[in-house]
């Protein structure tokens, strides 16, 4: 595969080894997901060239950036990347405008594509241009850092948990911009995160990192629907659905969505009928019943087939269901499983308590 980022890194990392081999598609957003200290940031730093692994191979679309066998290492300033750090790392002695233009000024004319104005507009930072970094909030700093990386005209944008240092309110402030960036720019992004909800909102592709190794990789929706991976144990585990709006109910302030396996009623979505909406149904919000339940407050009850089950210890388990070809996850207790005598192949009813909008 030539239009991918291929990598192989091996180096000691505290108590274990970073020992990663893999490929990352050069399009859309790829998340490097794993718990804190699993080596995902080290992998990102190796890709940027900020860290030199003893044994290393890295190439972007066939162009070699690092090959320890041949003694070749391209330093970071020659790699045409953008890097966004957790805390922004703006240059404190430069105004926002000069921070933004730092990489831009060093980019050869024929490589420049976007302009300062476009980026300023994309990230809504025009009121900040004449300020110094010390006069910005955490969220503003991060937007400027993203703009600075974009204006470096990168072939690859690397982001190291760009929202980890922000509180919940400021995260909400940044997420829409990341989603906008995803839609409006075609720079491939590699995004490090340990927050599954964040990843589910912006990623297309996911590499699961555990103890310094790439444990699994694939398209986001496939990865989120697998129950054999540690992702399924995450509090926020849940399947993705690509749906479109078929109807609005103004009386009850509800919207009706259709997907290949059925229809769902959700809270009002402020988009016209026909629009695509990606939603996520958390496994913890799905409960199971053998018979169609009687009168209930739950709006979405869909017939489904049990396909797989996996116990997770501490009395909990995750059940994978099939909704007319689309996977749905449900988290139940092992006692419930025993009570209902659930087995793969059984017909049951999935009751969906709530639905999260994704993109």
């Amino acid at each position: 595969m030539s239009d991918a980022l291929s990598f192989r890194f091996r180096m000691p990392l505290g108590s274990f080894m970073l020992n990663t081999v893999g490929e990352i598609p050069i399009s859309g957003v790829t998340a490097l997901f794993g718990r804190s200290g699993c080596g995902k940031t080290s992998l990102l730093r190796c890709i940027a060239g900020l860290e030199q692994a003893g044994e290393a191979y890295l190439s972007l679309a066939g162009e070699c950036w690092h090959d320890s066998n041949k003694g070749f290492y391209l330093p970071p300033h020659k790699r045409t990347i953008g890097y966004v750090f957790q805390e922004g790392m703006l240059f404190p002695h430069l105004k926002v405008r000069d921070n933004l233009l730092f990489g831009y000024k060093r980019t050869p004319d024929n490589q420049r594509s976007g302009s300062l104005n476009q980026v300023v507009k994309l990230l809504d930072i025009s009121p900040l241009l004449e300020r110094f970094p010390a006069q910005l909030s955490g969220g503003e700093k991060q937007r400027v850092a993203i703009g600075r990386a974009l204006l470096n005209h990168p072939r690859l944008l690397l982001m190291d948990e760009p929202m980890a240092a922000l509180d919940r309110g400021h995260k909400k402030e940044i997420l829409p911009y990341l989603e906008r960036l995803h839609r409006e720019s075609n720079v491939p992004i590699i995004y490090v995160s340990h927050d599954l909800d964040e990843v589910a909102r912006i990623a297309d592709h996911l590499l699961l990192i555990e103890q310094g190794e790439v444990m699994a990789a694939g398209p986001l929706s496939d990865m989120l629907a697998r129950i054999d991976l540690p992702i399924a144990r995450n509090e926020e585990a849940g399947a993705l659905f690509d749906t479109h709006i078929i109807q609005h109910d103004e009386n009850f302030h509800l919207t009706r969505l259709k997907f290949s396996g059925g229809e769902l009623t959700v809270g009002w979505i402020d988009l016209p009928v026909g629009n695509q909406v990606r939603i996520r149904i958390h496994a913890k919000d799905v409960s199971l019943a053998l018979e169609p339940p009687g009168p209930t407050s739950i709006l979405n009850i869909l017939p489904a087939t049990v396909t797989e089950m996996e116990a997770h210890g501490r009395g909990r388990m995750i059940v994978k269901l099939d909704l007319g070809g689309v996977p749905l996850l449900a988290r139940i207790t092992q006692k419930s499983q025993a009570n209902l005598d659930l087995k793969p192949g059984m017909q049951i009813y999935a009751q969906i308590k709530s639905v999260a909008l994704s993109l």
Partner: protein, 228 residues
């Protein structure tokens, strides 16, 4: 009033301080950068050597320099071999002595300023196409401005006030190696208190003024104020 010898001493002093400060910065900046970033095991050794003039009596440094600078000495011999005219009791010898003597006053503030820069700020510059040298001039030096000002001033002021080393290796040749501090000593020896007062008060006022200006500049510097 100041005699011709006093004026000559003033001129030698200023020239010595300027030349020494320039050389100190040229050598001290790369040295301090290396000390701030290196993990080499020679680092502690170099740091110790540079700090020695802080604790040694100037006469000790002066004594060894005198031996090294003499025609049969390590540095003086080399100097003559390449066609120089001898270093002991010359202005060039004084510059060598001053540079060694004032080195800790220049290197230490610079090293502290460089060490205070977050490694990730430099990494950010590297990911934005800045080569290490570019990064040094466009990020490291501007961020170290207060340290640079302090180092320059201390280097300059310390050379101005030097006495022991100069006396040992430069002697007291008017117009060549006689600096203000030695001229003052001469006046006191010959009981010419009026002239000693004039030079002493002048040096006192001058030193006070430059230190005051530097502290004010550093105190009101934008970076300092904003990092609070």
């Amino acid at each position: 009033m100041m005699g011709p010898d006093d004026l000559a001493a003033l001129w030698v002093t200023l020239r010595l301080a300027l030349v020494s400060t320039l050389l100190l910065l040229l050598m001290g900046i790369p040295l301090a950068w290396w000390l701030a970033r290196s993990t080499s095991r020679f680092r502690t050794l170099i740091e110790t050597l540079i700090a020695l003039p802080l604790v040694l009596p100037p006469t000790v440094l002066g004594f060894y320099l005198l031996i090294a600078l003499s025609p049969s000495g390590f540095i003086g011999g080399f100097w003559q071999a390449i066609g120089g005219n001898g270093l002991a009791f010359t202005f060039s010898g004084l510059v060598i002595g001053s540079v060694l003597y004032s080195m800790p006053f220049v290197v230490q503030p610079l090293q502290n300023a460089f060490a205070a820069i977050d490694r990730r700020t430099l990494e950010a510059a590297a990911t934005l196409r800045a080569s290490p040298l570019d990064c040094f001039f466009s990020v490291v030096l501007p961020l170290s401005r207060p340290g640079l000002i302090t180092a320059t001033t201390l280097g300059f002021a310390h050379t101005l006030g030097e006495f022991g080393v100069v006396l040992m290796i430069g002697g007291n040749i008017p117009g060549e190696t006689q600096v203000l501090s030695i001229a003052i000593y001469d006046h006191v020896e010959s009981l010419a208190y009026g002239q000693a007062h004039l030079l002493s008060a002048g040096l006192l006022l001058f030193s006070f003024l430059i230190l005051f200006l530097v502290y004010r500049m550093n105190g009101t510097h934008l970076l300092r104020k904003e990092s609070r």
